[in-house]
Amino acid sequence: MSADFQHRHAAHCESGTVANLLNHHGLPIGEPMAFGLGGGLSFAYLPFVRIQEMPLIAYRVPPRAIIRGVRKSLGVRFRIERFASVAAGEARLDALLDQGQVVGLQTSVYWLPYFPEDMRFHFNAHNLVVYGREGDEYLISDPVGEHPVRCHRDDLNRARFAKGMLAPKGTLYFPVDVPGRDIQPKAIRQAIHRVAWSMLAPLPIFGAGGIKGLARSLARLDRTRPDSLRLVGHIVRMQEEIGTGGAGFRFLYAAFLQEAAQHAERPALGEFAERLMDIGDAWRAFALAAARMVKGRDPFDPPALAEHLFALAAAEKGFFTELKAAVS
């Protein structure tokens, strides 16, 4: 059976899943607001953490942080369950669907057959919504897809119980207590403050400092090593390819700030949205320059790419310093 569920296309899996679940439960909220309340924007560069031979580079908070932030900001309660065995996880999902519940899942990307072949990599913190089942086929609303899809039981089980880093362990979740009230201005301001605070952390691995740290690593790259171009491509993938809404979530966060200007009694936030769009354009310019070098259209010039990032680090430091002041 299947619940009456409205699929909405989103840029990012976690904010899209949370927003679509809350909408289903009668709380009208768009992806940007869910992303912003969840404090989704960030930057991290952890050269000592290697994933598939590449350093960890993230333009956003760690998996599940958006759900956590939304719970805190809106006072929504989610029930979250993990399972020790595939059989238990499968039975519980089926039982919930039979009750008409719409369920969020954490899965691997690689084992979902409906994903485009070239996008299937081993990333275990993808989020999607299951809204029904017909026989052995689950009806899935994957927020990063344009349309709802179907997925066979065996494939979904494999994706839910993939092992390794961030193993989902069958994680499923659904809201159980959704307050119908409006979003509080104070909650929005606090969510913005959290992001600004973390972007200004005085460490060379997080926030604006992390961007600068990455710039330094880029500047030092040996252009004769094949690994060097791979790192450059990896940065751009994390920024653009992995469902970020463009410019490493900067455009998505700008959309949130614009909405927040009306809700948070801080009209000045509208100007911050504009500024962040411009910063996002600079990220896109960096991505384009980097991709041209990867493709061999331009000569590989690590210091030139580093210059882009040094400028972006400075721009974001200034931006978030002022943003923090504006919501304090």
Binding site: I51, Y110, D118, R120, A255, M277
Partner: protein, 131 residues
């Protein structure tokens, strides 16, 4: 980025799908727009795919030459490096590397073979040979 500047390059890597990106629309309102892809993304996605394809083909050549076992081929064919594979199947890396030796691989117990095959999403018989 304005709505009319959202790239619609028709990336092959998206397999005909479109993705949502955010851009400035009429009156300055930032909205989600469908994008058929951006060439810059396509370049870096293919670069990442190519790395694993190259590893896979190199492993195939080694298996054919008798220098490695099909296990190495299948690991790369599933886009895993040895660290990811070790986590997926719960076997230590040095042990997996040892099983890349054709002679050792030929003597693998059915239980371990099943475990590897399950982590790779293939049948144990398939794992014994190149496709």
């Amino acid at each position: 980025m304005d709505v009319q500047d959202v790239p619609q390059d028709g990336n092959a890597t998206l397999g005909g799908h479109r993705k949502a990106v955010y851009a400035r629309g009429a009156g300055g309102t930032i909205v989600a727009v469908e994008s058929a892809g951006w060439e810059a993304e396509e370049i870096v996605t293919l670069q990442a795919v190519d790395v694993f394809d190259a590893y896979t083909e190199a492993a195939r050549a080694r298996v054919v030459a008798g220098q490695s076992s099909p296990l190495e081929y299948w690991m790369y064919a599933r886009r895993m490096d040895i660290a990811t594979f070790a986590q997926s199947c719960g076997v230590w890396r040095w042990r997996i590397r040892r099983h890349f030796r054709p002679a050792v691989f030929a003597r693998l117990s059915p239980a371990l073979l099943n475990r590897y095959a399950a982590a790779l999403g293939i049948a144990p018989e398939t794992l014994r040979a190149l496709p």
